[in-house]
């Protein structure tokens, strides 16, 4: 922490500010925060859409057209095509929308878990 205590920025405030952003975590314990949410904005919006039955139908009939709606990058599209769950996670996809993508691709959670465990960190 670089800031110093002043009358307007007292010690207890600076402690709270420091604690609000978990840090010094092992690299394999990820957070969904500013960086993840920013990095994963397109992928999260795409997977979130699968709450809607029409979007699930479109995914099943024309996956490319489904992806086109969200302006996914070439790399992001490739991750979806390959069902690269660890890659999607590293690209900022939240586990809670990933579960919706797992549903429409008939991927059981243990399969995702196996990929996650075998990834050996980042």
């Amino acid at each position: 922490m670089s800031q110093t205590t002043t009358k307007e920025l007292p010690d207890d405030y600076l402690r709270r500010l420091d604690a609000v952003q978990p840090r010094d975590l092992p690299p394999d314990l990820d957070l969904f925060d500013e960086h993840t949410a920013t990095r994963g904005a397109r992928l999260n919006k795409a997977a979130y859409s699968l709450k809607d039955e029409h979007q699930r139908t479109l995914f099943s009939t024309d996956e490319e057209a489904w992806m086109e709606q969200f302006g996914l990058t070439a790399d992001e599209r490739e991750l979806v095509r390959r069902r690269d769950w660890i890659g999607l996670w590293r690209s900022g996809m939240s586990i809670y929308v990933m579960v919706k993508l797992s549903g429409v691709t008939d991927t059981p959670l243990p399969v995702i878990g196996k990929q996650m465990r075998e990834s050996g960190g980042r």
Binding site: L25, F32, D33
Partner: protein
Amino acid sequence: MARIVGGIGASHAPSMEHVYDAGEGVRGSDEWQPLFGPFGEVAQWLEQLRPDRLIVVYNDHMDEFFLNAYPTFALGVADSYPVADEGFGARPFPPLPGDAAFGWHIARSLVADEFDITICQELEVDHGVISPLPMVDFAEGEGGWKIPIVPLAVNVILHPLPSPLRCWKLGRAIRRAVMSYAEDLDVVVVGTGGLSHQLTGPQFGRVTPDWDKEFMRLLAEEPESLTRYTYAELIKLGGTESVEVVNWLAMRGALPADARPVVEAYYAHRIMGYGLQAFGVEGAAA
């Protein structure tokens, strides 16, 4: 006047929904009896207590709320809460009954207490509510849901999260909101989520039973000590997704200090540390 007559902490998970939906045989199987048996005990306890309302402190999993506008605290003020489609089609439960007038009172009381919640006249509830609730509050067949709810969603997904201390204080504020309500209602506060689980990265599936049991002990005996944990500590102890336990902390904050567990169960199974803890309140019926 309304009063708080009990509290329930319960894990929530899609796995619990799959087991419930598979029917009595699976619920009572050797594999699931250690969790569903105690849920049956809580259901019996609740049947004797006969509360008029449940306030359910839970978290949504991007089923109602999304990252375009993610509320830190969101309160339902509806008379009915439909079940969300989480991406697989909604489970075939009728909408949960609510109590809009009570919800609005809680909203006013929380704002008076400087909890500036998002107020929701429409809210679809996901497994944060309806994975544990059928086990204690649903009669199959004609009966349906028994007790109207007021849902209160906490952001435990998108950091920065409200601190454990803040969630404890939310519970204290819920207590004041109930006690200041003019109608003569008995209320049970429910907190759902946790305990240990890790759903992302190379540690996927990590469960930490020692910490989970210690958490439940502290919640019962010295709940305020839990407000001193940082999220970094909670994540190291129980996993990234285990931070949902702050919903239990809000529940416990709504209870009197001397509330004691009447049903307790812990079952570490597969990728989840499942916890269940029902608190009785001195002087309440039952």
